[in-house]
């Protein structure tokens, strides 16, 4: 068994997670009724496992707040099938902050329902969380040694028990052990040794099969099939999302689009495109490519299914030389190529074009992995900060964060990491508008995505937790005056 341990001791296997790549923690800025809250959910690596939930009252200490309840709701079972909520306990080391642990028992779409109760009434925020096994814990050397020692002692003791069973246990009190019986006991022990070894071998094989089955169920990003061709003077990208694991069920629009597709150049050329393919049928999509430079690109495509699952599909594509460009297929498509990219630092600013710039107005300190950070920006024109932005896809701003090796990718908004479409699906499900087999009308989902109280000022903050240290690039998209503009920053996260 010790050989098995050495195999397992290689450490935790990091695997990418769902509505994003490699960035499983969920952050939501919004309201639980009359109470503005920030909710952070750190899902477990394994399912069933415990998610850490942190609820922060965004207006600081509020004496009117009496209880903060957290409750895990599995999409398929709905609120009716959710266990009673737990009270989140105040965190002694942080102001106006509560925390608790919730068991996520099944794989699939969950929402953490955060209910704040107080003298101003009660309000609930729905925070969608994807529950997937994303890794397997390794053995620490200390635990491996401890278990190996205990195992050895147990095996040695078992052999002694076999010897004693045949030798002394069958003697009457005081009766001496004869050489013949002693020999029989030794033979029995010698036979027991390979038998025990065989049982241990069988146990190790069993463990291996459990492990292999577990590895098979680990989440991996769906890989679409991509074909790029020239047709009628245009570059066309055809995508098939047929997924052998059947995770991609009927899709619903998020921010009014059935798919948000991002092309990010790999060769340091600094090209970034946020595009919106057309859905041809349940698994096929088509996109007319804008005039992008030839070269290798990473492709990420965000979709939301009507059973409240958010998925990021990943692929790699190469745009050949000499392909003609074409006008944007969708008026919300936007792309940019940044020749020089500023590092995030106090007073750093990225050019947006059209006379606008985007200034970093966030923390002066360096950003740290695993800590909730406000990515704070201000849109400026020649006269200083602008007062108001136009909504772009229903939001004041969109941001895309990618680690330079592509191992982290996420699409963010001022409301956080969550997809507002999944939030809407949970709300509709609670209302009884959908069933496990029913279908949601797209219009209902779009209508249910709450944008009413969204601020559209020229200064905005996007909450995020960088999952691990490294070099990241952040693209921020805003619409100050009629056109979508993209600002690009680099940041080193420690």
């Amino acid at each position: 068994m010790s050989k098995r341990w050495s195999i397992l001791a290689v450490g935790a296997i990091a695997v990418v997670a769902s509505a994003h790549v490699g960035s499983p923690n969920v952050i939501f800025d919004g309201n639980a009724g009359p109470y503005p809250v920030r909710v952070v959910v750190r899902p477990p690596m394994v399912v069933p496992g415990r998610a850490e939930v942190i609820v922060q009252l965004r207006n600081g200490v509020d004496p009117t707040v009496k209880h903060v309840m957290i409750r895990p709701v599995f999409w398929r079972a709905g609120v009716a099938g959710a266990p009673v909520g737990d009270e989140a306990a105040p965190v002694p080391t942080a102001r106006a902050t509560y925390s608790g642990l919730l068991w996520l028992m099944a794989a699939g779409a969950y929402s953490v329902y955060v209910t704040v109760q107080g003298t101003r009434g009660a309000g609930t925020a729905v925070v969608p969380v994807m529950s997937f096994a994303t890794g397997r814990l390794g053995f620490s050397p200390g635990l491996a040694i401890l278990l190996a020692l205990l195992g050895l002692v147990l095996v040695a003791a078992l052999l002694t028990l076999v010897y004693a069973a045949v030798a002394e246990s069958q003697l009457a009190p005081g009766e001496p052990l004869t050489p013949a019986r002693r020999r029989r006991a030794r033979i029995a022990t010698a036979v027991a040794l390979p038998a025990i070894a065989l049982i241990l071998f069988g146990g190790a094989k069993w463990w291996q099969s459990v492990d292999a089955e577990y590895q098979r169920t680990l989440y991996s990003t769906p890989k679409p099939t991509i074909e790029i061709r020239s047709a009628g003077g245009q570059n066309v990208l055809d995508m098939s999302t047929l997924d052998p694991t059947d995770r991609i069920s009927a899709l619903i629009p998020d921010h009014g689009k059935i798919m948000h597709l991002f092309l990010i150049s790999r060769d340091g050329a600094g090209t970034f495109a946020h595009l919106h393919p057309t859905q041809l049928d349940s698994t096929n999509f088509r996109l007319t490519l804008p005039p992008l430079p030839a070269g290798a690109y990473r492709l990420f495509a965000d979709v939301t299914t009507e059973n409240a699952t958010s998925l990021t599909l990943t692929s790699a594509v190469t745009l050949p030389q000499g392909m003609p460009g074409a006008a944007a297929g969708d008026s919300d498509d936007a792309w940019t190529t940044s020749a020089s990219v500023p590092q995030i630092a106090p007073n750093a600013a990225a050019a947006l074009g059209d006379g606008f710039s985007l200034a970093w107005t966030g923390a002066a300190d360096s950003l740290r992995a695993g800590e909730t950070t406000d990515l704070r920006f201000t849109v400026r024109d020649a006269n200083g900060p602008v007062n108001r932005l136009e909504p772009y896809l229903g939001m004041a701003a969109h941001a895309v964060v990618m680690r330079d090796d592509g191992s982290v990718f996420i699409h963010l908004h001022p409301m956080g990491t969550i997809s507002s479409a999944t939030q809407a699906v949970f709300a509709l499900r609670d209302r009884g508008d959908t069933t496990r087999t029913g279908h949601l009308p797209s219009a209902d989902v779009t209508a249910a995505q709450q944008m009413a109280d969204m601020p559209l000022g020229g200064t905005f903050a996007i909450p995020y937790e960088f999952p691990k240290p490294g070099r990241y690039r952040i693209w921020v998209q805003v619409k100050p005056k009629g056109r979508v503009l993209t600002g690009t920053f680099d940041v080193v996260v420690r």
Binding site: P83, M105, P173
Partner: protein, 394 residues
């Protein structure tokens, strides 16, 4: 007559017939520990079926741990006492183990306690690595089950050694204790195969094959080793009695699932299904064994007992399973034919009220034929084991 046991020490022949005084309370303590672990296991499974949320400190876990500690610590005390302060009678009724001395059963209990302790960090790692108890039967749970089983076996060995040495009224009292512990021994097997003996599986050949591997062994062994005329019957009766009392008691307590998704809103503790009707084949095994043991070869006896087991078990379990699964009259607190876990979907619940579709007659006959072979083999091993048990003296 003096017998040399250890160099430099002598023992009188009278010692051989004297029960070591420390052994009796120890046998009762370890038997109580065996009750604790088995009741705790039952309670724990019920906890997972009804409430779900787990911690080291659930009452069911505490009862299991208490059982482990009672068995381990009392046996450890006996080992230290016998080794360093033991009377001649106590030392002469013990076996050596790495320089220490204690009754054979005490060492099995200590081993079981060690296995239970070992399973704790292993199981904790398992939960963190693969998720909480996706399956009952996992490698760390098997180590735990071996530890729990060892406590029951240790209790059986301790009581068996005392029974085999005792005479008169004490012998009968100890024989009753052996049969009671034998009931826990059977319960261990029955609980371990819970996932293979759900009610809709009770007409399947796999179920009969698994039953025929385990229970003829247990019943034949106990029938031969117990000093009662109806030892196997008493043990099977104790098993069914304990299971029924637990079933009827536990389901009286209110409980709410604390984990989701919840598909069945159970309002009380859910208990395990009606126990297997082992008392009926046990009567057959006791009756036949007493008439044939010593008159025919062990192989012949095993063939007769194995066939009798399968026939007697099927005669009662098959129609009872039909009642339990199909008849709405079984869906009440008495028969518990409607117990469901909170995470069972409605489709699954409907599935538990119909048998898994039967294979063709030929495939079924072949499956039952395999079960018969298993039953005969299991009976043979049980008879041989029973003979060894009658020889246990320390």
């Amino acid at each position: 007559m003096a017998i040399a046991l250890d160099p430099g020490r002598t023992y009188t022949a009278e010692l051989r017939s004297t029960a070591a005084p420390i052994s009796v309370w120890h046998a009762y303590a370890v038997s109580f520990a065996a009750v604790c672990v088995m009741v705790g296991v039952y309670w724990d499974i019920s906890w997972h079926m009804s409430i779900g949320r787990d911690s080291f400190w659930t009452p069911a876990h505490l009862v299991i741990q208490a059982g482990g500690l009672i068995a381990g610590l009392s046996s450890g005390y006996v080992a230290l006492k016998t080794t360093f302060r033991g009377t001649d009678a106590e030392r002469s009724a013990s076996v050596g183990f790495w320089g220490f001395r204690a009754p054979f059963g005490a060492w099995i209990c200590i081993w079981g306690c060690g296995a239970m302790l070992t399973s704790a960090p292993f199981d904790n790692w398992w939960h963190n690595a693969y998720g909480l108890d996706v399956q009952i039967v996992s490698p760390p749970h098997t180590v735990l089950a071996l530890g729990i089983f060892s406590i029951v076996i240790g209790a059986l060995m301790l009581t068996m050694a005392l029974q085999n040495r005792a005479t008169g009224a004490e012998a009968r009292r100890l024989a009753l204790l052996v049969s009671a512990v034998g009931g826990l021994f059977i319960m261990n097997f029955a609980v371990f195969i819970t996932e293979y003996s759900e009610r809709m599986m009770l007409h399947g050949t796999l179920f009969y094959q698994i039953v025929c591997v385990l229970f003829p062994f247990a019943l034949c062994g106990l029938s031969r080793a117990g000093k009662l005329d109806w030892s196997a019957t008493a043990s099977a009766g104790a098993f069914m009695g304990v299971m029924l009392v637990l079933m009827w008691t536990i389901e009286q307590f209110p409980a709410t699932p604390k984990l989701g998704p919840i598909y069945q809103h159970v309002g009380h503790m859910v208990s395990l299904s009606w126990p297997l009707w082992l008392v009926v084949p046990a009567v057959g095994i006791d009756w036949l064994r007493r008439r044939l043991d010593g008159r025919v070869s062990t192989a012949t006896l095993a063939a007769v007992l194995g066939a009798a087991f399968l026939a007697a078990f099927m005669v009662v379990e098959w129609p009872f399973a039909s009642f339990l699964v199909l008849n709405p009259a079984a869906r009440n607190a008495f028969f518990n034919g409607n117990n469901v876990v909170y995470w069972a979907t409605n489709a699954y619940v409907a599935h538990t009220h119909q048998f898994i579709p039967a294979p063709s007659a030929a495939v079924f006959a072949r499956g039952i034929g395999i079960a018969l072979v298993y039953a005969i083999g299991s009976s043979a091993v049980g008879l041989l084991w029973g003979r060894r048990l009658t020889a246990i003296r320390r």
